[in-house]
Symmetry: C2
Subunit: 200 residues, 2 copies
């Protein structure tokens, strides 16, 4: 079987959400697996002197318009959350805590967290909300609540983010297939051509 | 006939070049004209605290890779110019000087300037190069050389850029159809859906 696709995303990123709804089906079509890597873009943005899109003059108001139109384009339910963007530390930690025990459950949890944030307008940066979402997916709420404060888990997430930056990841979604990088949910056409031809 | 499409671009922008090769055919398919508006993004970038793509860590090296891959995707000849990016003041002024006399010739000149910069690697920010390109298209070289230094033309270009910013333009290409904005050569699929359905 061919190498799995590396899928990097931030839980605060609408375009990451759009990609998350499409990536598994696209990969399956070309007999590939997907490794899901939630990351925290705050560190990258600081390094690059970038601001989150919504705060930039002109670009910010266009971005909100583009997010809503792109959701319709992809046929996905979406609303811009009341609190947006967020630092998605709790959901990111929860994902890796679960993944170390059950990768399939972590994948389900990622989908549920994105749905909670971008469809139900629940503030998943609040650890209580993340815990509620996880519990609904069958995760042990008490054990996860303890785990979220574990120093080793914090270190683990920091290492995941550092490894992503080391690899060149600077946005969400950021997808790597056999070393070839694709940034943005608007590169799915080029990504699919790559998957279908091996190179071009 | 329906309203023409407004097409904003910077002569220093690879994605503007890609869009410039596609926009007239797309518009014609939906019985629309195109108003070409070269602009200078330097003023917008300064206002937004943005840097040109190539200078941004991580993003810059990805951007160069993406430009080359996107050129192949669109089936266009392309190389990253030796001097890149540039302040495209001379080509921008030359365009408006010609357009006031002959809109069709200005359209041809825009294509020739993009070709000189992104295919032939000629530095069109040098007024002599812009004059040579224009002369090849049948523009009166001496008259244009005088015109480029005309205070009224400088003011005219400044007003065009200000009007674009006023309208919300912050990148290249930036396309407006019946009030609906589309930023990027990667929004042509959404743009075409808009043109074909009127709204969605």
């Amino acid at each position: 079987m061919a190498n799995p696709i590396d899928f990097y995303f931030d839980f605060s990123s609408p375009y990451g959400y759009f990609a998350s709804a499409k990536i598994d089906d696209l990969a399956a079509k070309y007999v590939r697996g997907v490794n899901w890597h939630p990351i925290l873009l705050g560190a990258v943005f600081k390094m690059n002197g970038q601001q989150p899109l919504p705060g930039i003059p002109l670009k910010g108001s266009y971005a909100k318009h583009d997010m809503m139109r792109s959701a319709r384009w992809f046929g996905l339910p979406f609303k811009i959350p009341t609190r947006f963007p967020i630092g998605a530390i709790a959901p990111c930690r929860a994902f890796y805590w679960v993944r170390d025990k059950d990768a399939a459950l972590a994948r389900k949890l990622a989908g549920a967290l994105y749905h909670a944030y971008f469809v139900e307008d629940r503030d998943i940066s609040n650890p209580e909300v993340t815990l509620n979402v996880a519990a609904k997916q069958g995760v042990d709420r008490e054990a996860l609540a303890q785990g979220l404060n574990d120093v080793a888990l914090k270190e683990r997430v920091k290492n995941e983010v550092d490894a992503a930056i080391e690899r060149g990841v600077f946005g969400s979604p950021y997808i790597v297939v056999d070393g070839e990088p694709f940034w943005g949910s608007d590169r799915f056409d080029q990504l699919e051509k790559w998957l279908s031809t091996g190179n071009w």
